[in-house]
Symmetry: C2
Subunit: 417 residues, 2 copies
């Protein structure tokens, strides 16, 4: 029975999490370095398993893009090991005193970071997620249940086979990192019901996966469904800066969640700013879908429809709209945005502050590209994703966001009056 299988994984993960709650940093780092070494040592077996996945996927007619995501080679395997080594070198968030104070009763209260507990990670075909997610969860003191896509199960099993020996050699419980050992889709549904033994679910993958997880899960989810990000070019924007930032925000990488999808331009600077920015985008190979004012710039601009304002293209396509002012830009973002990342380009500090305060998104930038929406760029060292929910973690989910806290209180005999 799948349900029993998943429940047993959950119980084993919970038991491991209880041990990990106080695991020394040195032991966690040793386990991570053991994993990195074992990925080298077991590379032949891992690549052979991946070749079998690739053959099956090709026979099933997966697209070239899907096959590329699935494929491992010695360089990619080495990059996976290097990522684990980097995570081992990051500071351990557990035990950090977030804040501390004394109250009139004389009690010393400290808010201390502790592991979240058990994290379920549900992903698709990229085998590197098996290692990345496991390493981040473990470094933050969490047990992890990994659920990969069916097409990468052989690869992920070959990778996950290194975990238990690496953990055991470091004196940590071998069930701290477990892979769901079946492609049965019912396993996902079962995992999403494990309220008692899984503390948070992190889905990584396409929109349909995220939507299913958010709709079904009884366990709290850290994720973002959409990254419908906006850049607003204000009347007080420096034109050269606006051109550079918009081009970068849209075109640097079009497939990332922080890519700008809709450009809003202040009508007060449309005469000077709109055409150069739109022509830059067209010259870079970006399709432009605009309102009437934008269409007037160039015949290659096609009409934008209501659907465009809602769309996260993840492609070299941008929607462009003229707005009356910053307030109108903010109203558009409130209506169509996904609370992910928005940027304002302006030299007017007051307008910038109005935008930064008023826009209700996880990340709001002034005079910078939305493509900075990334844990690495935030200085977090690594991230497992970006969250747009309102509770616990918003924005990049790095090691700190994979912890929670408790209050530790020192007294000297206090009783409450």
């Amino acid at each position: 029975m799948i349900l029993t299988l998943i429940q047993n994984l959950g119980k084993a993960a919970r038991a491991a999490a209880t041990e990990l709650h106080t695991a020394p940093t040195a032991a966690k780092n040793a386990a991570l370095l053991n994993i990195a070494q074992a990925l080298h040592d077991q590379s032949a077996a891992i690549l052979a398993a991946n070749a079998a996945d690739m053959a099956a996927a090709a026979a099933q007619g997966l697209s070239a893009a899907q096959l590329d995501r699935l494929q491992l080679d010695p360089a990619r395997l080495q990059a996976m090991a290097a990522a684990v080594t980097r995570i081992a070198a990051l500071p351990d968030p557990v035990g950090t005193v977030i804040t501390a104070w004394q109250v009139p009763s004389g009690l010393h209260i400290a808010r201390v970071r502790v592991p979240l507990g058990v994290i379920g990670v549900i992903y698709e075909s990229r085998p590197n997620v098996t290692v990345d997610a496991a390493a981040l969860c473990l470094k933050a003191g969490n047990a992890c249940i990994l659920r990969c896509g069916s097409e990468s199960l052989r690869s992920s099993q070959a990778i996950a086979a290194v975990f238990a020996p690496a953990l055991a050699a470091a004196g940590l419980p071998t069930t701290a990192l477990q892979l769901v050992p079946t492609a049965d889709r019912a396993a996902v549904g079962a995992l999403l019901q494990l309220q008692d033994d899984v503390d948070v679910i992190i889905p990584r993958g396409g929109k349909s996966l995220i939507a299913r997880v958010q709709a079904e899960s009884r366990v709290p989810v850290l994720a973002h469904l959409d990254g419908n990000c906006h850049t607003y070019v204000d009347r007080a924007a420096d034109l050269a800066m606006a051109r550079q930032i918009v081009l970068n925000a849209k075109m640097r990488r079009t497939g990332v969640c922080g890519a700008t999808e809709t450009l809003l331009v202040d009508v007060a600077c449309a005469a000077t700013h709109l055409a150069p920015i739109v022509l830059d985008l067209l010259a870079a190979g970006c399709a432009v879908r605009g309102d009437a004012g934008t269409q007037a710039v160039d015949p290659r601009v096609t009409p934008a429809t209501e659907t465009d304002w809602h769309t996260e293209y993840l492609a070299p396509i941008i929607a462009v709209k003229l707005v009356a002012d910053a307030t109108a830009a903010m109203a558009h973002i409130a209506r169509y945005g996904s609370h992910h990342t928005e940027s304002i380009i302006t030299a007017n500090t007051a307008t910038a502050e109005q935008f930064l305060q008023g826009v209700d998104s996880a990340i709001v930038l002034h005079n910078a590209s939305t493509q900075f929406a990334d844990g690495g760029e935030f200085g977090m060292g690594a991230e497992i994703g970006i969250a747009t929910g309102r509770l616990h973690a918003r924005g990049p989910v790095g090691l700190e966001q994979l912890t929670t806290f408790k209050y530790t209180i020192h007294g000297n005999g206090q009783i409450r009056p």
Copy 2:
């Protein structure tokens, strides 16, 4: 239709929350002081409505305790108004920079507190919750949907009638604070499904209410189901201190969630410490249910069963068990505890640190009473409850815990390489 009614409350709350996102502190405080004043001005109408609730409740045969929770009088009404005035005087958490740093790209990143959004509060018969919860949510910039118990609907409606004029006079949206205007139980189910328009649900009441909310809600819940709190008296405990703290932890108020329910005593100090502590409890009128060692102290000690270790009595009853050492105490807490509040009494610093680090509860104390588990005692000014979940808020939920954060980032033209 109840569903439509609740959905409309949700949409109106979301619209209000969007305005409240940037509402000035002065406007929020003005609205709170208007509410306090209006509670005085409308006291006759509120007391008349409460009298009608009381008459109906008495006719339905509610218990004396239930009637006491429901009853208002001029003194209670004045205390409600005073609580609102105190909340107005607390610092506004919104806009606070939690942390800020610069990254190598030159971006200045700040993590800034912002309102959570829309909070649903589901409670039972105490009419004061209508005011307390509304005031805390509003001060933190949140819109609030209040759902009271059916027996207090007239009282709560009379109280809630002051909200809209108080908000309007302060220039804030009148739908910021809304009461569900029906006793229909289907309203709770509908509210728990409003994922898009409610950001968090806070239930306040008995265990059956909390359990129902946790089981049914599609919206994240901040709550605690149980407060099965433990005090552990270690071999290195000062006897006088242990006696004082245990007596206070159990008997100061037995109905609060931070009251100690199980006492664990180190077998190494049982000969000296157990009898005085147990006799103190018995002398104070506490029923003691103990293991064999505890029963040997006094014939009034009755045998504890497996059920006792699981039970939150909320009454003058305590379960007492001898344990081999601090590690055994921690194992008992891990097995039976509810992750709420636990305390160790010891003069041994190393043992205390082992306990503080190893016990996975929201609040862990050393040499102090578990009854300090309270937002007021933490210096938070006020609290809406205590949470034992792992995400976002653990321990007392005060104004800060009713906020979330966003990243505001200042650049000077940065594009991502």
